[in-house]
Symmetry: C2
Subunit: 202 residues, 2 copies
DNA sequence: CGTGGAGTTGAATACGATCAACACCGGTGG
DNA sequence: CCACCGGTGTTGATCGTATTCAACTCCACG
């Protein structure tokens, strides 16, 4: 049975999120944000954005977990990002330009999200510099995280990367099937299985 | 002999850059930018930012080529980015927060740069939304490029990645020593040498 | 029930790393 | 001016890590 959170709950979740992140936020500003964020429920495996199609929205995750991923020429799946509660996930690059999405986004678990469209970013400008700084900082943090991950991919073994992943997302790990962790780390499910076996031995 | 461009030339280069990227820019705005950008000449191999140290500036490259890179625990060098003419290079994440730099930046060739400090970003806010959008877009493009590179690193062979690199930076390749291309691709110089040999055969 | 996906294990393979030797400059100092 | 030297790139032989392919178990779910 799929539990459905009420929309009021989703918005109150959003309000708490922003009040935590931006304490000086006003009720008026929260309402303006709500007006541009549309609640939607996703079932496990349900696809929100499909690679190569033009779908101009992104999501704030209220509950559950989403992922963005690509399928390469060799039909292998590569996960770019996991987005559990309170994360933003979107392909801003293509969304803002109306280009085909560079990757797919779907739900790893049953999820509740708030969708936003291209109109969301102009809205931020009207809400003052604190908001722009906030989202700019989010983007910078993503960038820094992506750089660390790239270096790790270039320099560390499968085992080292798996251990890093465990440390980085200790709670998330338990919610993800192993084949997805493997797809995130860039190794085969078989290799991950062996790595885990080896770690268990010690 | 190290040719030194006059500072006037550097600023005129900057003006042309912005007039191309943001046609509606005014002379007043360009002057405001110039006031926050400080010319500096770099010799080949000269270090601008040293990993783990707090150095609160970034650079716009007028001439020559810079690179950002990290040294991992195994003493291997990994290049994050090359920045030839008209590129911005900095560690915004640590610069804005006064944190130790996540990576080093040095000059691959003799170079002329314009340095900016943490005061540069507040300045942009005063220059209007077009500037914020412009730099936001730059950051988004970097992010998209980094994602493509991550996927490529996870899914493609050394040879495929080298060919991609050739296509992506056809002119730059000739200016870079092979060991740096190897450090960017995440392979050893020996492997790159073999890849090139193999490609030459066909 | 029983069926198909997820995870595990084994054996053979491939790709790139490592270590070592050598050729080829380009720059420096005698 | 030339001799030398360190860094760069090349080539060969060997090794290690992860992939591939295949078989099997175990649940979760219809």
């Amino acid at each position: 049975m799929f539990y459905k959170m009420s929309y009021e709950d989703q918005y109150s979740h959003l309000r708490i999120y922003f009040q935590t992140q931006l304490p000086e936020i006003t009720d008026t500003q929260v309402e303006a944000l709500q007006a541009h964020l549309h609640p939607r429920a996703l079932r496990r495996n349900e696809v929100l954005i499909r690679q190569s199609e033009i779908e101009r929205h992104g999501a704030f995750v209220v509950k559950g977990c989403l992922r963005s991923y690509v399928i390469d020429k060799k039909d292998k799946e590569h996960i770019i990002q996991f987005a559990p509660e309170n994360w933003w996930i979107s392909d801003q690059h293509s969304m803002l330009r109306g280009l085909p999405a560079a990757f797919s986004i779907d739900a790893v678990e049953d999820a509740e999200v708030l969708l936003f469209g291209p109109d969301f970013f102009p809205l931020l400008q009207t809400l003052g510099p604190a908001f722009q700084t906030f989202f700019h900082t989010l983007l910078q943090n993503s960038m820094a995280a992506m750089q660390r991950r790239l270096i790790s991919t270039l320099s560390a073994t499968a085992e080292e990367r798996y251990v890093e992943f465990l440390q980085m997302y200790p709670t998330l790990v338990q919610r993800l099937p192993q084949r997805m962790i493997a797809a995130y780390l860039g190794i085969t499910p078989e290799s991950l299985s062996r790595v885990r076996k080896e770690l268990a031995r010690s």
